[in-house]
């Protein structure tokens, strides 16, 4: 990594995780949730998104470039640590390890997911209810997506906790503990939204 920029890179990494990546995740899962109201509602939502002006620019600026930076710098951070939960089995140390593990799982999941949906669209396929229903006709994909969604939402929720510390918002132990509880609630609620939306595609 470039000399003298580690403070800025770490701050940018932390910021991008929430704005825009975290917000995009919430938006994406809520949009998927429309599938629980039927194929028609989901296809309508997809159509609405596809009609956003300059969609490709929006996608690159708010999704692809931030995720690419977050992923590359995240891998650098993840492989720098010397994990020691064996000797130091504290809750936060486990979260530290899991943040890095889920980061890598999430990256694999996202690469596959983008290949299967967005790149197929670029190659001429149409993204709609049937495409997802087709993907979920395979039980292996249901397992893969379940792990992927849980891992992504965990990484987001625990990353939210870290964000609050990295930016000096939760400073003392009490506020950090409350933030742990709140981000756990975020994890449960958002995981439910994600998995419930997925189940709507399983016919």
């Amino acid at each position: 990594m470039a000399k003298g920029h580690s403070f800025l890179s770490h701050k940018l990494h932390s910021l991008l995780g929430l704005f825009p990546i975290g917000l995009f995740l919430l938006f994406h899962l809520t949009a998927n949730y429309q599938a629980t109201r039927g194929a028609e509602a989901f296809n309508q939502t997809v159509g609405l998104i596809e009609n956003v002006p300059l969609l490709l620019v929006v996608e690159f600026v708010f999704i692809y470039i931030p995720i690419l930076f977050h992923a590359v710098y995240g891998l650098y951070i993840a492989f720098q640590a010397k994990h020691n939960v064996g000797n130091f089995g504290y809750f936060r140390n486990h979260m530290f390890l899991w943040q890095r593990v889920t980061g890598i799982i999430t990256l694999i999941f996202i690469v596959w997911h983008v290949w299967e949906t967005r790149i197929q669209k670029a190659l001429g396929a149409s993204v709609d209810f049937d495409m997802m229903a087709n993907i979920f006709s395979s039980p292996a994909m249901i397992v893969f997506y379940t792990i992927g969604i849980i891992s992504t939402v965990f990484h987001f929720s625990n990353g939210l906790w870290s964000f609050l510390v990295h930016w000096g918002i939760t400073v003392g132990p009490r506020s950090q503990r409350v933030a742990t509880y709140l981000t756990m609630v975020v994890f449960v609620v958002v995981t439910f939204i994600g998995l419930r939306a997925m189940s709507a595609f399983i016919l």
Binding site: F96, S162, H166
Partner: protein, 249 residues
Amino acid sequence: MAEKLIHLIITRQDSPDSTPYKEEFKIPYRPGMNVIGALMEIQRNPINAQGQKTSPVNWESNCLEEVCGACSMVINGKPRQACSALIDKLEQPIRLEPMSTFPVQRDLSIDRSRMFDALKRVKAWIPIDGTHDLGPGPRMPEVERQWAYELSKCMTCGVCLEACPNVNAKSEFIGPFAISQVRLFNQHPTGQMNKHERLEALMGDGGIGDCGNSQNCVQACPKGIPLTTSIAHMNKETTKHAVKKFFFS
């Protein structure tokens, strides 16, 4: 009655570059003994568990009351001071290892210079030398002195660096203690006059950005220093400083 023995398994290393190996010792128990006492017994009679004569185990210690930090080592998997590690409270066999996050010099003695370099880097002192008498400095409010005193208990023992997953051969991270020392000296009414210098040092490579919030440091610190609170506080201060510098000067 058979003599009660203490069983020790010590990770030894003959020189900074040689390969570490384990050697076992069985030494006579005395009431109230600590790990330093056990090492002194080996020094007096350097015979290992197989009954062979060996070189005495090398270690560092000084104050023997957990305020100097010199005798830090990994005892049964946890980094701590050997002087305050009482044999009666340890599970046997007692495993002693050097804190290998630091360069091992010999056996249990390590080189902690990276910590002193880190303190120099963040300017963990209060510059008061001048060419003439500057008079008394501003007073420090008592409520602040009370918590600042807690931070001043840091003895540069190295336990927080050993516990931190982000301090290792692949990273330049200066470690939790140095960040807490910046908070201490930036709080001091005279130290405050140079606070920007310390903040900028924290914002360099290997500085506060490298903290990954595993929070092992605060659990491991033998002096109970609120290291994670110091880190989060300095996160806020460095962010404010960066924003101010970018927009206003």
